[in-house]
């Protein structure tokens, strides 16, 4: 992958009236990267995308495409195209004309135009749909037409605003893989807005997690999952157990903490915690085991009682009430060597090295 930064966003802020929806955003996206903006609704991700498209202008800051300042360039002059959340297929013209819509100004011959449209339809596997109208297409088909209509313009950047949100689960998963493959084969930059963390994880090269107008972390999916920068990111991406901890002793190498229900522990200080920092101790559910008897392979073993069991097929979640704490621990497993039922006594065990130190 080329390491050239195609999109640069510098000190960007946006306010609607008194409400500041984006706060001093700085972001760089590489050429050919599949980049996701992930966050809960109202976090500003769609506004950021609309600023990239040119539908909104930032209150402060600048946007660069390929080192050219495009901050005040209208959408029709930008080398980007957008796939809208509701697809925005023109209802008064057929599929063929919808896809041709953006090509009118490129002075193509009839044959070239026909070829481009045909290729675009082939790309989204909807050959033979030229004469259909929007109301004769299913949601998934509309989504593909919207994609074809944007890609036929051969944009440098494709902006996608929650394009899979309205599709059912099965179709959404198929489209995720298809979109990813398409992006790889075309080699163009995709900016993908979503509130669905799984979607962002499966498709992206990098993810920017946003909340309340701030970008909290920009990292590849694995990095975000295993080393979340703060509590919000850790909870938004996947499930996690957050434990209450008191700092007892701190050095540059290690910290000693007293964790509610688990007693005193010593962990490596990889987050460079200093005296007075607010932080949390956390562990992912799949890093905890559940067993009938104490397990000497793990350095942490605790008694508990099964409160609830949720069966998901590929994994099972156990909600365990610890004996000497109010805390309910989430444990997930895909093995079922031992069977448990609700209100069974059990042991939970994990390695203390799997505990994460997460700043607030």
């Amino acid at each position: 992958m080329s390491t050239k930064n195609y999109i640069k966003i510098k000190n960007l802020s946006k306010s609607f009236g008194d409400v500041e929806v984006l706060k001093n955003i700085n972001l760089e996206v590489e050429e050919g990267e599949f980049f996701s903006l992930l966050g809960p609704s109202g976090c500003g991700k769609t506004t950021l995308l609309r600023i990239l498209a040119g539908f909104e202008y930032p209150s402060e800051g600048e946007v660069f495409f390929d080192d050219a300042n495009v901050t005040s360039l209208p959408p029709n002059l930008r080398p980007s195209n957008m796939v809208f959340q509701n697809y925005a297929i023109f209802p008064h013209i057929n599929v063929q004309r919808n896809i041709e819509f953006g090509l009118r100004k490129e002075n193509l011959s009839k044959a070239e135009m026909g070829e481009r449209v045909e290729n675009a339809l082939k790309m989204v596997q909807l050959e033979g749909y030229e004469n259909r109208y929007s109301n004769q297409l299913s949601g998934g088909q509309r989504q593909r037409i919207a994609l074809a209509r944007a890609l036929v313009k051969q944009p440098k950047v494709l902006l996608l605003d929650e394009p899979l949100g309205a599709l059912d689960k099965k179709l959404r998963e198929e489209m995720q893989i298809e979109l990813r493959n398409l992006q790889k084969s075309l080699g163009i930059t995709f900016i993908f807005v979503t509130h669905d963390q799984e979607e962002a994880m499966t498709m992206s090269d990098r993810i920017a997690v946003m909340d309340e107008g701030n970008i909290l972390q920009v990292s590849p999916p694995r990095e975000i999952y295993h080393n979340p920068k703060n509590k919000f990111v850790s909870q938004f991406i996947g499930n996690i157990n957050i434990l209450d901890a008191d700092l007892k002793n701190v050095s540059s190498e290690s910290i000693s903490i007293s964790v509610d229900g688990f007693g005193l522990m010593t962990l490596k200080n990889h987050q460079k915690i200093i005296e007075g920092d607010r932080f949390n101790i956390a562990i992912r559910p799949e890093e905890i085991n559940i067993s009938k008897v104490s397990d000497p392979n793990h350095d942490c073993n605790f008694n508990g009682k099964v409160k609830n069991i949720s069966f998901y097929g590929e994994s099972t979640y156990f909600y365990i009430q610890l004996d000497n704490s109010e805390k309910i621990l989430m444990v997930s497993t895909n093995e079922s060597k031992e069977t448990f039922s609700e209100s069974d006594n059990c042991f939970v065990n994990f390695n203390s090295q799997n505990l994460k130190i997460i700043k607030d």
Partner: protein
């Protein structure tokens, strides 16, 4: 027994629909369809004296209509005046409706109500008020004379076709704004954004997306203005002078002072036919043109 009838009634959607329709249906049959049929029959009769009509079938009244050039001339004039009324109304109300639909964020309903406020007064009063504006001692002439720009009142303001056109388009403006506003307001804003995003300027987007999508409203407005204004006889009578008289004034006098019911009926039938043909043509052409445009 009654319970089975009730059962049948409540099971049938059609029966329920007809029950709901029946008041309107009765009114339409007795106040619209029946007079229309009587009028068509009358148009094939002959007036033989002040009060007597010969009921034998004849196409003579239609022959009368086409043999006297005044009738065709008046029919053409009616259509022409209505055409300009429709055009003027559309040109003035479309931008207004567009503004309310796309630029007014709060209190859209208030704007609509304000727009229709003048139409709360009587139609006749509004026509008279145009006489007050356009007349020899009217607002425009007194203002111009008062400022010394002219010495004598401008006579061409009132009692001609232009006065009829202005008065009628003002009278019907509210009826045009509503369908136009509804069709424009319904347009999904993301369609306009999609058009900009695909390389179109605002102007191109208007002609390729907004206008074609507002066509149902435009056709509605055209029909709503054109059909009633063709048959209007009050406005031409009050502000039209001799030059502004329309076929409807002639029909009115045939049923009144001229006392020739069959010829009046034949004129009305021909006018009705013309209006229907034009309405069908307008609908057809606008749809074709919009397909071509986008």
């Amino acid at each position: 027994m009654s319970s089975t009838i009730q059962n049948i009634y409540f099971r049938s959607d059609q029966a329920k629909a007809y029950t709901l329709l029946s008041p309107a249906l009765i009114l339409v049959i007795f106040a619209m369809a029946a007079p229309m049929i009587v009028m068509i029959f009358t148009s094939f009769n002959t007036q033989i004296s002040m009060i007597e009509i010969d009921r034998t079938f004849t196409t003579g009244r239609y022959e009368d209509f086409f043999s006297k050039p005044i009738f065709s001339m008046l029919l053409f004039r009616s259509v022409k005046i209505s055409f300009f009324v429709t055009l003027l109304t559309l040109l003035t109300t479309y931008p207004l409706a567009y503004y309310i639909a796309f630029y007014v964020k709060k209190n859209k309903m208030l704007w609509i109500v304000l727009m229709t406020l003048p139409f709360w007064t009587s139609y006749l009063l509004r026509v008279f008020s145009w006489r007050v504006i356009l007349g020899n001692k009217g607002v425009i002439n007194s203002a111009l004379m008062g400022t010394g720009m002219i010495d004598e009142p401008l006579g061409f303001l009132l009692y001609n076709q232009a006065a009829v056109i202005i008065t009628l388009s003002h009278a019907w403006a509210a009826f045009a704004i509503l369908p136009l506003y509804v069709s424009l307001d319904k347009i999904d804003k993301s369609l306009l954004e999609a058009s900009y995003d695909l390389g179109n300027t605002k102007f191109e987007t208007f002609w390729r997306v907004t206008f074609p999508l507002s066509l149902p409203g435009v056709i509605g407005a055209i029909l709503i203005i054109f059909i009633p204004t063709v048959g209007d006889y009050v406005t031409p009578q009050l502000v039209g002078g001799t030059d502004g008289r329309m076929l409807s004034n002639m029909i009115q006098s045939l049923f009144g002072r001229a006392n020739n019911f069959p010829l009046g009926a034949a004129s009305a039938v021909l006018m009705l036919t013309t209006v229907c043909l034009i309405a069908a043509l307008v609908t057809y052409i606008t749809k074709k043109v919009s397909m071509r445009m986008s």
